[in-house]
């Protein structure tokens, strides 16, 4: 009843091109953003911030970046973890080597360096596609793992190869409490999500999608594959690099290359696939699914066990978590291969017809 667009007429191209053409959507999203900025910091506990919300925000951002490359441009990448690592280490190096650099500038510079590396490793995409490209980008992962473990300059010659960042501040505002860190990450995410959404609606986004759907046909109608593919790699690695810098700076505080191992790449790819390929919304769903669900299961299972009087051992919980998590992934992909974002869209469509479906 409420979710109906009757009487909403678009009388200009501008109105027709809005991100959320339906008024209800617009207000809902606005309310969500306001709630995220105002309400959540008031009610959430420290644990919620530090263990769930912050990683969720940062990995959403990373998934957003991966989605641009994999979902919109169709270039399967297994090197996202590496680009995160580049972002984190480059930002760290900017911070310690350039005197007086603001932290945001360091984080963005981390993204810039990730862009450069992303473009270099994107070059093979001009020749190979699909699984072959996936394996080629895996090389980025191995190379970066190697570089950050071996080249001591990157880690500022720390004996153990682990680097740390503290005293985060944003133009004098010390980003210290969990709520502040959350807001800091949220700011990044909102800005980048808006930019990404607009990018994929613009000419360049359409070029990416054309390349994804059929690159030969795209080339025939005048889209330059090299430009489209490399720009997708560039934009994607920039966002992923910024997410990596945030992951190191804000979430972990101290990290080693293992924090950005190939597991992270897989995790990001799963987020995009489960969330929904080629959907900005899907990146958030995917990140929530992958980040929050294991933690929820980890805490809910013992509680459920207590309820029925069966104490579950730590190892048991861990194994059960993997089993349930895996089963859910399979179930979701069978029920809706286009991911959670598609389920969301179907739900919205149903709502528009409710209570009189065809």
């Amino acid at each position: 009843m409420l979710y109906r667009e009757n009487g909403q007429f678009k009388t200009s191209y501008r109105a027709d091109l809005q991100i959320f053409p339906i008024v209800q959507d617009r207000w809902a999203i606005l309310a969500l953003v306001v709630a995220a900025f105002v309400l959540v910091p008031m009610v959430a506990s420290d644990y919620m911030f530090r263990a769930i919300l912050i990683p969720f925000l940062i990995l959403s951002l990373a998934a957003l970046g991966v989605n641009i490359l994999v979902g919109y441009c169709g270039q399967i990448s297994l090197g996202s973890g590496a680009f995160m690592a580049v972002g984190a280490y480059a930002a760290y190096n900017c911070l310690i080597r350039i005197d007086g650099i603001p932290m945001v500038a360091a984080i963005l510079l981390g993204g810039v360096f990730a862009t450069l590396v992303g473009i270099v490793f994107g070059i093979p995409s001009l020749r190979v596609r699909g699984l072959y490209l996936a394996v080629a980008t895996l090389a980025a992962q191995f190379f970066c793992d190697w570089a950050f473990l071996r080249v001591k300059w990157f880690t500022n010659y720390t004996p153990s190869g682990s680097v740390s960042v503290s005293n985060l501040n944003l133009f004098g505002w010390r980003v210290e409490t969990p709520a502040e860190r959350y807001l800091f990450c949220l700011g990044f995410l909102v800005i980048f999500a808006l930019l990404a959404k607009n990018l994929v609606r613009s000419a360049i986004g359409r070029e990416w999608m054309a390349i994804r759907d059929m690159d030969v046909a795209a080339a025939v109608i005048g889209i330059r594959p090299m430009y489209a593919k490399l720009s997708a790699f560039a934009v994607s690695s920039f966002i992923v690099g910024v997410a990596g810098a945030l992951w190191g700076f804000v979430y972990l505080g101290a990290w080693e290359p293992a924090a950005f191992s190939v597991d992270r790449s897989f995790q990001l790819l799963f987020m995009v696939i489960i969330g929904g390929l080629g959907s900005i919304m899907g990146s958030f769903f995917g990140a929530a699914f992958i980040v929050v669900l294991p933690i929820f299961l980890n805490q809910a299972l013992p509680a459920v066990g207590d309820l029925v009087g069966v104490p579950i051992s730590t190892a048991g919980i861990s194994h059960a978590e993997f089993i349930i998590f895996g089963a859910l992934i399979v179930w979701f992909l069978i029920v809706e291969p286009h991911g959670l974002a598609r389920l969301w869209a179907v739900g919205k469509q149903k709502l528009r017809l409710w209570p009189f479906p065809h």
Partner: protein, 444 residues
Amino acid sequence: MKFRNVVLAAAMVAAAASSALTTGAYAQQQEQFFPVLVYRTGAYAPNGVPFANGYVDYLKLVNANGGINGVKVSFEECETGYATDRGVECYERLKGKGGGATVFQPLSTGITFALTEKAPGDKIPLITAGYGRSESTDGNVFKWNFPLTGTYWDAADVLLQHVSKKEGGWDKLKGKKIALVYHDSPYGKEPIPLLEERAKMHGYQLQLLPVAHPGVEQKATWQQIRGNRPDYVFLWGWGVMNSTALKEAQATGYPRDKMYGVWWAGAEPDVKDVGDGARGYNALALQHGAEPNSKVVKDVLEKVHGKGQGTGPKEEVGQVLYMRGLIAAMLGVEGVKRAQERFGKGKWMSPEQVRWGLENLALDQKKLDALGFAGVMRPISTSCADHRGSTWARVHTWDGKQWKFSSDWYQSDDAIIKPMIKQAADRYAAEKKLDRRNAADCQS
């Protein structure tokens, strides 16, 4: 569809309700809460499980003996899988429980690094018994870190002392080749500065041979060893990497008695699968080895396992890693006990008070004997400047069936290590813009 929703909703409500119940129970009684970060799954589980069992069993033993001067101990395990981000999540989840977690023992160098940044803000002490970052010995900079019983630098130093003694003096090491086969992570890299420092002094050649996580791929490494024929191999491995290294050594024909592991590489799970192939392999014992005959083990068997409340198999009680967990828990409990001496016996201690206790730990032989640790370990006493408390270690050797001590006690050479600690700690302080603690802060 509807039925499924109902079931899901019911499950959620049930979970929420039961967790609310348990938190309510926590609020009523003031127990000393010990978070237990463990990894019972994943690549390092074979070594993580005995440690966790020992840790938990000791806490159960404390309760069986009436708690810490009457204050009962509660604990909760959290699985990290050795992953830093999961470890951080566990830390965040457990740090506020029971009025504040008594002490965290991260059980992974990576998690230690991440928590080192967080602990000062939350005012919770970290014990890294025998691992962690070596420079955190300097309590003037690392107020909240306690690498009790020694660090990797002590470990490396003692191994070198043992080797030099075998060779007949430090000068005999000149021109010798020592290879370090290490886990390619902060953990594996920790001993390198000390080994390099000693190499400069004594003129041996140090070869660094990294092995990638989890450590099953070592063919190339041992090819290099076959080619170079180092006089000694130091093994800084963990989990499956250790047994793989021993098997590769066997295949390469490298003498096992020339191999020396750090204490993470010197427990039963590392050598059991290799069996006879590991005979003669040595490893460092930072204080203790396998101690099935110690009094504390008998206590555990009687008061915990005897009551059917034991964690893990009875046969593993007293093995090397089990003892490591036991001692780690004991150190935490003793920190609380010491804090009670100052802030009030029989009272619940806040993490901040426990920190004071750990910093003024005075575990002399008498106390150790009373706790049942006679012969297991040496006294430990900490201070504001020294958060490590002990520099003693031994070497033990696998005879094909069990670990047996094959050396006397050694003490690491503080003339070399102290300046290194100071330098690294100063560097850390400069990077973080921290001031060294003053005398007044040491009293707090």
